[in-house]
């Protein structure tokens, strides 16, 4: 709890303090609202007293007019207050979200591999959302309502100290009770939310596997499981509800007893001639008003506890350092193809949940080789042989457990990360398209790339006609999930991205899905152009591709089984590659 208290403080310092001007206005609005709220009963009270004392009508009308005017002011004030609080909350959380995105984008691939995009949505949007109220209201409400509480108690004390003392006693007792009972509900609600999450997790998974369920006769079983999850959710929620309503009821009844006692006491004081009837009424109204700050304070503290889990998760995320340290200073040659050297590369993924940082099973075992500048190498091997991992070492997605990767003779760790990433381009099988403008999809939101250059690349790749058919050209918004684009077009767009970045090294994870012949042809041509004058690694799935490479490397369990010029290997009947060519590539690659 102590560490999270420090976390709250640092979050407030970082994201709430820059908004202090708005927060100050908010506080003023809140105080003004409170003041108006306190004046209101005074007006009513003096109205009663003056009416009974036969005051002139004019005087009574003036009082009523004041009352109306202040009510109107309060109305305006409360709208402004609500809007301003929401604005503060949204501004603060939006900044926090942006910071989280920036931080996570800079984290290494090991981090991202362990998390689905769905989980990232939940952590960056969902968790931060829970802090909205914390930024928007917590400090201000706590401050404002504590003042209101004090103010009312002072005012009642002014009417008569006995009344004041009674209310102070009951207020104190209520707050104390609240504090004692508050924690009872929290674990129950946690459990209830967990039951909810499990139910939806269950449904989501089953919705994705309807064929598996139906064709294997498990519909009845699945429906029964749904009811089991629902029963669990029912029980957890009902328990939490009953307990929290009871707690709420007990404290409220306690406090309202105080109101009743104050009322009776007021009546006695009136009978003793110590109070006017207006003052009795005023005291009664004030006790009613007292209920509000007590409930607000209660709610805010409860809310803070529920936000606690989110704060811990956010802090975890922000404290996760990137395993790739960007401390290099040596530049790479700016142009021309670069040679790639692996020197005794051994690598194993590090278990994300394990703090020791010891690598799991080794994926690459002592790889040493050199790919000359401008050469094209075909990478073959079964699933899990380490092809993808090897290709990712080239752009320093991971640092090797042992050994060094060199581009142009430079150890990657001595080169600024931005340089490495600028020099290497990767074309994956699946291109992630954004529900955003075509332009942004191609430049990945870099506004500095001129339109003419983008259009030129698109036309060069044979997509000119397609571009012309788009209603808003480069500004056309692509449909979510890449809808409206064929698999082949998406592949070509991925190539447009690469051409725009003009890399020195290309890693191509060849598409294994079948394209229509026309697109296929376009793609082949584009790849031929892409490979010219660049060092390339192709993770190959087709015989046709193999024919255009200079070298062939076959990986087996993270080790090089065979590596050499394609022509030499093909000519040697004893080589694994030659065997592959005869038995068919298909069976080798699976």
């Amino acid at each position: 709890m102590k560490s999270s208290r420090r976390t709250y403080a640092s979050l407030l310092r970082e994201y709430f303090r820059p908004l202090w001007q708005r927060a100050l206005i908010l506080l003023l609005l809140l105080l003004a609202g409170i003041a108006l709220q306190l004046i209101n009963p005074v007006l009513l009270s003096s109205f009663i007293d003056e009416a009974i004392a036969n005051a002139p009508l004019q005087r009574l009308l003036t009082l009523a007019g004041w009352f109306l005017g202040l009510a109107f002011l309060r109305q305006i004030g409360s709208v402004a207050e609500a809007a301003l609080a929401a604005d503060i909350g949204l501004r603060a959380t939006n900044r926090l979200r942006a910071d989280l995105v920036r931080h996570c984008l800079n984290l290494d691939l090991a981090f991202h591999n362990a998390r689905t995009p769905g989980e990232m949505i939940e952590r960056i949007d969902g968790d931060v959302e829970r802090l909205n109220n914390f930024f928007a209201r917590f400090i201000i409400d706590l401050l404002g309502n504590a003042l209101l509480l004090l103010g009312v108690l002072v005012l009642v004390w002014n009417i008569h100290w006995q009344l004041g003392l009674t209310l102070v006693g009951f207020t104190f007792a209520t707050l104390l009770l609240l504090n004692r009972l508050r924690d009872i509900g929290v674990p129950l609600f946690k459990k209830a939310r967990q039951a909810d999450a499990e139910l939806y997790g269950f449904i989501e998974e089953r919705l994705a596997g309807t064929e598996d369920i139906r064709a294997n006769g498990a519909v009845a079983y699945t429906m029964r499981r749904l009811l089991e999850y629902s029963r669990r959710m029912y029980r957890a929620n009902i328990t939490a509800d009953i307990v929290s309503v009871s707690v709420f009821g007990v404290t409220r009844v306690l406090f309202l007893s105080g109101t009743g006692v104050a009322l009776g006491l007021g009546a006695l004081l009136y009978l003793d001639g110590l109070l006017t009837i207006g003052a009795v009424y005023l005291a009664y109204r004030y006790t009613e008003i007292l209920l509000q700050p007590i409930e607000v304070i209660n709610r805010q503290i409860q809310d803070l506890q529920q936000a606690g889990a989110a704060v811990v998760r956010i802090q975890e995320l922000l404290n996760r350092p990137s395993r790739i340290q960007d401390t290099g200073t040596t530049p790479l040659p700016a142009t021309g193809p670069l040679p790639i050297q692996f020197e005794g590369i051994t690598f194993g993924y590090i278990d994300e949940d394990n703090a020791t940082g010891a690598p799991l099973e080794l994926v690459l075992r002592g790889l040493t080789f050199e790919l000359p500048a401008g050469s094209v190498t075909g990478l073959l091997g079964r699933t899990g042989s380490g092809k993808t991992t090897l290709s990712r070492m080239v752009f320093r997605a991971y640092d090797p457990t042992q050994g060094a990767v060199r581009l142009g003779g430079q150890d990657l760790r001595s080169v600024p990360l931005a340089e490495v990433r600028r020099a290497v381009a990767v074309v994956t099988q699946e291109i992630q398209l954004f529900h955003a403008a075509l332009r942004d999809n191609l430049t990945l939101f870099d506004p500095a790339v001129p339109d003419e250059k983008i259009e030129q690349v698109i036309r060069d790749l044979g997509l000119g006609e397609w571009l012309n058919s788009l209603p808003a050209g480069l500004n056309t918004i692509l449909q979510p999930g890449g809808g409206g684009l064929s698999a082949g077009q998406a592949q070509l767009l991925a190539l447009v991205r690469v051409f725009l970045s003009d890399p020195q090294i290309v890693v191509l994870d060849e598409a294994s899905s079948r394209l229509d012949p026309a697109t296929e042809h376009l793609l082949e041509q584009a790849i031929t152009r892409l490979l010219a004058g660049r060092t390339a690694i192709i993770i190959a799935h087709r015989l046709g591709t193999i024919e255009r490479v200079d070298n062939v490397m076959i990986l087996e369990r993270g080790e090089i089984q065979e590596f050499g010029p394609r022509a030499t290997l093909a000519a040697d009947p004893a080589s694994r590659f030659a065997q592959l060519l005869t038995t068919g590539l298909e069976e080798a690659l699976v």
Binding site: I48, L60, P480
Partner: protein, 605 residues
């Protein structure tokens, strides 16, 4: 969502609500009674007590009882109210969760009955928002339906009490209430519009987050982190504005209605000023306090009443979205009264039929045809026979219709025409028929669920009457199983251990084997298996002579094992025969066998 027309929507929203109310009528009434009526009526009582006290003190109406008795009554009333609230919460929360469960049950049951390929209108993730938010809004509105009764009682009781004191003053203070009602009604459409814009802005943010973290490698390589963050911030900014507009508008309405209580009191002061003058008039201090107290409460009640109309429209949107999941079903299916066993014991699962009533002798497919809606693509007409114990491989290029053929046969896609005969008997509803013990199926990308490995294989089958071990062996999974730390109890699926592609496929195969169906259908089972494992799998399959296999594959171990090979090309049956026949006669098959053209590729990775 609103502009999308829903052709199936034949019921107005209230019909659904009515049917839901009838599901547990007593609970509905109890919830209504506690939650609504008492909630509204109770606050009227303390006002009366305070009036009596004040009037007793000023001598306007002599006190009947002791002051402290009144105070005790005052506290007792509040205590009673909170006791009622407790009952109300239990009743209302029960009602909500029961109705939610019923709706989810009906939705899931329907989705599971749909042809698998087109069960959902969008993604499962999108469907979750319907299973959660849209489902929940139904019982919420249901609970509100009884409120107007409580509200009407309060209105009548409150206003007539006030009117009995002074009809003229009552008339004067009712006006702000009426104005509130009118304004809320006029504005309700705009409220919806702002809300919708705000929701869409949220969707745009989460959308972008998902896409960004799906493309993290591309962004890191492009080095455009800052631009991406900027774009993200811009979408957040849009959301902020939309949220503020939404909030500002509804807050303005809300504060207006709430504060009109103060206006009412202000008007009361103006009107009452004359009436109260001199203290001896008919309008007493106690009356005044009662007016103030009632007006506040009446105004709150009024603004709640106004929001009903908005809620009704919003519920209509939810009904549409839920019916969007109930493709092709009549409206009553959504709210059908099915048992959900939320309390008490769950009834035992019906025992699964172990032996087929009609063991497969011969499966005949005649002129089976299917076209994807709105396209020329599809399959058929296709004819073939599967004799008992045979091993049939369907092969062909990617996109030739292999998976489609399997799915149409099994009823996962609705056939356009043709006949399927089981021992000569036509099968009218393939979807219902092609389940264990008649058949079982493993799709191309099988799904496992976040349960133990054993649960994933058995999926509810009683362990004592089905041979789990044998199924694992037949699926060539015994060695993998031995390597898993927790064996059969290992949690798999998205929240558990990530199995490799081949392990996943073989677990799915075991799931099929354990059911001992007559006909086993694999869609490209071997795509992630190495050659040795695949060979072993087919060898072990051969040890079960009673089982009939229908397998999509283009790999040699399967083709060599086949009694019959069906070669598909562009959705038609191009050739049929044994391996040797086809190698001699079918040019398409020769190309497939040799794999010497670019389009012949694997599904791996």
């Amino acid at each position: 969502m609103t502009p999308q027309p829903q052709p199936i929507r034949e019921w107005p929203t209230w019909r659904y609500i009515f049917e839901l109310a009838r599901y547990k009528p007593w609970l509905y009434l109890a919830s209504g009674l506690f939650a609504s009526t008492m909630f509204y009526v109770f606050p009227l009582i303390p006002g009366l007590i305070v009036r009596d006290l004040l009037d007793g003190l000023t001598g306007a109406a002599p006190l009947q009882v002791d002051i402290w008795a009144l105070v005790g009554l005052f506290i007792g009333v509040w205590f009673g109210r909170h006791l009622f609230i407790l009952f109300a919460v239990i009743a209302e929360a029960s009602l909500h969760m029961i109705i939610n469960t019923l709706l989810r049950r009906n939705l899931l049951a329907h989705v599971l009955q749909q042809p698998g390929a087109r069960a959902l209108p969008h993604s499962p993730g999108e469907a979750i928002s319907r299973f959660r938010n849209d489902v929940e809004s139904m019982p919420e509105f249901l609970s509100w339906t009884i409120d107007p009764i409580g509200q009407a009682i309060v209105m009548i009781a409150g206003l007539s009490t006030l009117a009995s004191i002074d009809p003229l003053i009552t008339g004067a203070v009712v006006i702000p209430i009426l104005i509130t009602l009118v304004i809320v009604n006029i504005a309700s459409k705009r409220i919806q519009r702002y809300r919708q814009a705000a929701r869409e802005a949220i969707g745009s943010v989460t959308d972008f987050l998902g896409e960004t973290f799906g493309a993290v490698v591309a962004i890191q390589l492009a080095g455009t982190h800052e631009h991406v963050v900027k774009h993200f911030a811009a979408r957040n900014e849009t959301r902020r504005k939309a949220a503020l507009a939404d909030l500002l508008f509804s807050q303005m309405l809300e504060t207006f209605t709430y504060n009109s209580a103060n206006f009412g009191t202000g008007i009361l002061l103006l009107v009452a000023a004359r009436a109260m003058q001199g203290g001896a008039s008919t309008f007493t201090v106690g009356d005044f306090s009662l007016f103030v107290s009632y007006l506040g409460w009446l105004t709150i009640v009024t603004s709640m009443f106004g929001s009903h109309l908005i809620r009704y429209r919003q519920t209509g949107v939810s009904v549409q979205r839920l019916m969007g999941l109930m493709t092709g079903a009549p409206p009553q299916k959504l709210v059908e009264h099915n048992p959900i066993h939320i309390l008490g014991d769950l009834p035992a699962l019906p025992p699964p039929p172990t032996v087929s009533a009609a063991p497969l002798e011969m499966l005949q497919v005649r002129k089976l045809t299917y076209r994807y809606p709105g396209s020329e693509k599809g399959i058929g007409p296709i004819d073939f026979d599967l004799p008992r114990g045979s091993f049939t491989v369907i092969t062909g290029r990617i996109g030739s219709g292999k998976s489609t053929l399997l799915r149409v046969l099994l009823g996962l896609l609705p056939k356009d025409s043709g006949e399927i005969l089981w021992n000569g008997q036509p099968i009218p509803d393939p979807a219902a028929f092609f389940t264990p013990p008649h058949s079982a199926y493993t799709p191309q990308a099988p799904r496992l669920f976040s349960e133990s490995l054993k649960d994933n294989v058995l999926m509810g089958l009683p362990e004592d009457s089905f041979d789990f071990e044998a199924a694992i062996r037949q699926a060539v999974f015994e060695r993998d199983l031995a390597e898993l730390d927790e064996g059969v109890a290992t949690l798999v699926g998205t929240r558990g251990v990530r199995l490799s592609g081949g392990q996943l496929q073989r677990t799915a195969a075991a799931r099929m084997f354990v059911r001992q169906p007559e006909l086993l259908v694999f869609d490209d089972l071997s795509s992630a298996l190495d050659v040795d494992t695949e060979r072993l799998l087919w060898e072990r399959a051969a040890q079960h002579p009673g089982q009939t296999f229908l397998v999509v594959s283009h790999r040699r171990p399967a083709l060599r094992r086949a009694d019959q090979i069906l070669v598909l090309q562009d959705g038609r049956l191009e050739a049929r025969g044994t391996l040797n026949d086809l190698l001699a006669s079918s040019p398409e098959f020769q190309r497939l066998w040799a794999g010497d053209f670019d389009t012949q590729t694997t599904h791996s990775e």
